[in-house]
Amino acid sequence: MLETLQFVGRQFDLPEDWDEGTEDAPVVELHSGYRIYYSPKSARLSYEETDTERIFSELAKEWREATRLSSSLTDMFLHPAYQRIIGMGPKAVPMILRDLQFTPAHWFWALSAITGEDPVNPEDAGRLKKMTEAWLDWGRERGYI
């Protein structure tokens, strides 16, 4: 029985009781926001984003667009879309970290609010690249990305 699965460029741990799925019944819904299907007939895997992933993407897009001309971190952190992402709780963490990997942005407040942690060196305060690196290292150490 497979224990891990390489999929969309990442490796996932599969639950012990996983079994073949059908298009109507997914093999496994991963916490990272993907639902994976296995088709016995064609012996092929397919996937779709879960609602959580879709909602996160929409909220992140709304936040970026609404705050693109703002220098105020207060406005960025208090934006309703940003607050809704914080409200998603721990399941938002891997999605935020993946977003950070491709498009660095001020997700640090949300990550700290959700996790209660802050891996950023105080000397790097405000330095987007350094802050991003610190959080991505934190995520890698914990298997989020």
């Binding site: 220098s71 105020s72 207060t74 952190f77 660095p104 305060a125 987007l128």
Partner: protein, 140 residues
């Protein structure tokens, strides 16, 4: 041009940099390009040590006071002085800063977007940045 700036016409500005999220307008006014300035709790942004972490006009004046700037009522270019301007919203909360360059042309970083040169402070007023509430200057 963004609808967020109702006073800004196509001839009023010139884009002078690519989009860059590494710094904001406050940092740009302080002539920094590698970190965000904002009185948010550390370490989410840089703010001069010892100053309160509250977004008020007085606190912004204090922050630029650490760089040698003092209040002035005159936004016109003066030989021998550098100037910066602080914009505030309808609540008096700082939203934006611009820095005067040689020949009196102003430069602004538009949030996470580009740097622009603009010929007057007024062209960025009336929209999301509100109005200019304070001009500061320091001797060069």
């Amino acid at each position: 041009m963004p609808s967020e700036f109702p006073n800004l016409g196509d001839e009023d500005f010139e884009i002078t940099s690519p989009v860059d999220g590494d710094y904001n307008c406050i940092a740009w006014a302080a002539e920094e390009e590698d970190r965000w300035w904002w009185p948010a709790p550390s370490p989410f942004a840089y703010w001069p040590p010892g100053l309160p972490r509250v977004a008020t006009l007085d606190n912004f004046v204090l922050a630029f006071g650490t760089l040698g700037f003092e209040r002035t009522s005159n936004a016109v270019f003066e030989t021998g002085f550098e100037k910066v301007a602080i914009y505030v919203d309808s609540n008096g909360t700082p939203t934006h800063m611009a820095r005067q360059q040689e020949r009196g042309i102003w430069t602004s970083k538009l949030g996470q977007q580009e740097d622009v040169d603009h010929y007057t402070l007024k062209v960025l007023e009336g929209g999301i940045y509100g109005r200019v509430a304070q001009v500061l200057r320091r001797a060069t």
